[in-house]
């Protein structure tokens, strides 16, 4: 089973609502991780390259803002599938500790 780094996870989660551009992804990942994931620009673009190659992220559209290209990235169905699988794994792992009745032994 393929695991996922925290940065990859929050980049994919950030794209689940709508396509975002580079800085949009950084802002949303920061908000959604409650400030825990602060992506450096170099890291973000390395991850986007890799995720494009894996087929989990696609270029959605390009706009020009202040004379600069601004590219929006979109998550693919495969990407959604991968991030959901990771979320389910995290939930199972968390459930071992965070049961309503506290930690129980078998």
């Amino acid at each position: 089973m393929i695991g996922m780094t925290e940065a990859t996870y929050f980049i994919l989660v950030a794209l689940m609502d709508e396509p975002l551009h580079g800085y949009g992804i950084i802002k949303r990942a920061r908000t959604q991780s409650l400030g825990e994931v602060d992506l450096a620009v170099g890291t973000l673009y390395s991850a986007l390259d890799r995720l494009s190659e894996t087929g989990w992220v696609l270029l959605d559209r390009e706009e020009t803002v202040n004379g600069r290209p601004r590219r929006y990235y979109r998550i693919t169905d495969d990407g959604v599938h991968a991030v959901r699988a990771q979320a389910a794994r995290l939930q199972r792992a968390a459930a071992l500790v965070l049961r309503p009745s506290g930690v129980t032994s078998v």
Partner: protein
Amino acid sequence: MTHVLERRYRRLLRAYPKDYRAAHGEELIGTLMEAARPEDRRPSPRETLHLLAGAFTVRVRASRAAGVPPWTDGLHLGALIVAMVTFAQLPVLPYFDYEIWTVLGIVLMVALVRGWVRVAALLAAFAAVWTSWPIVWGGFYVPGLDLGPMYGDLAPVAPYWVVAAASAVLAVRRAGAGRASGKARGWGATMPARSPWWLLLPLAGWALQLTQVPVYEPVWVVSRAGVEVVALLLVLAATLAARDGRWALAAAVYLLPGLVYLAENLLVTGVRGFLYWSVLTALVVASLIAARRVHTRA
């Protein structure tokens, strides 16, 4: 007027390859400027570090051979480096010894660079059998032809067998893959070609022989160890950056003849020798472990 911070970011982006900058440079500058605070005048150490790491990753990823499984690329690179290093050390100059063997080596190295793995497999197999003649026949019969060196020890013949085995695996695999896709291609390129700059390595080795400094002089021994350690550290970094095990495999192939040498000379190896081989082995093992770990993470 361009912001001073933007100028500094542009200077940093020169670490990325030219074609990557042409495609993504302006987009990166846009994101970097958006992410910066208005009072920032220079890139933060953190952003600088991550941009340099990003540039290294892009360069490493760009060096991967396209259209073949990663392990074949690693095996090909490993075989090429072992062949280069072996022939670079062959005492050819200044007296033009081993002419026929040198020509065989040049054809073998060109074949490996061009990706003609079947030609390489055949030549390397011949070289391996020839150099091992005294071991196989116990010095009982030595052919009258003086084609090249023959050895009675395992260490000097190990590189030839490593190159022969790696090329044979690649040749057999491509034959199978070619048949499956209905385009088996005879003796031509069956692996993607590698940079012809690699051929400078044996040329540099032969040029060094003109200096007449014996290869066991400390200056060469220490320089070679230094180059090996730096190269293996780069392999580890590349494995982690590109999340790809091909360079770790190439490094393991490179280490193999060395380990044969160590095994054969175990009793006469001193503390420094053990230290040297331990460092190289530890670095290769670290890369292999890193390759395994990154393979299971997206």
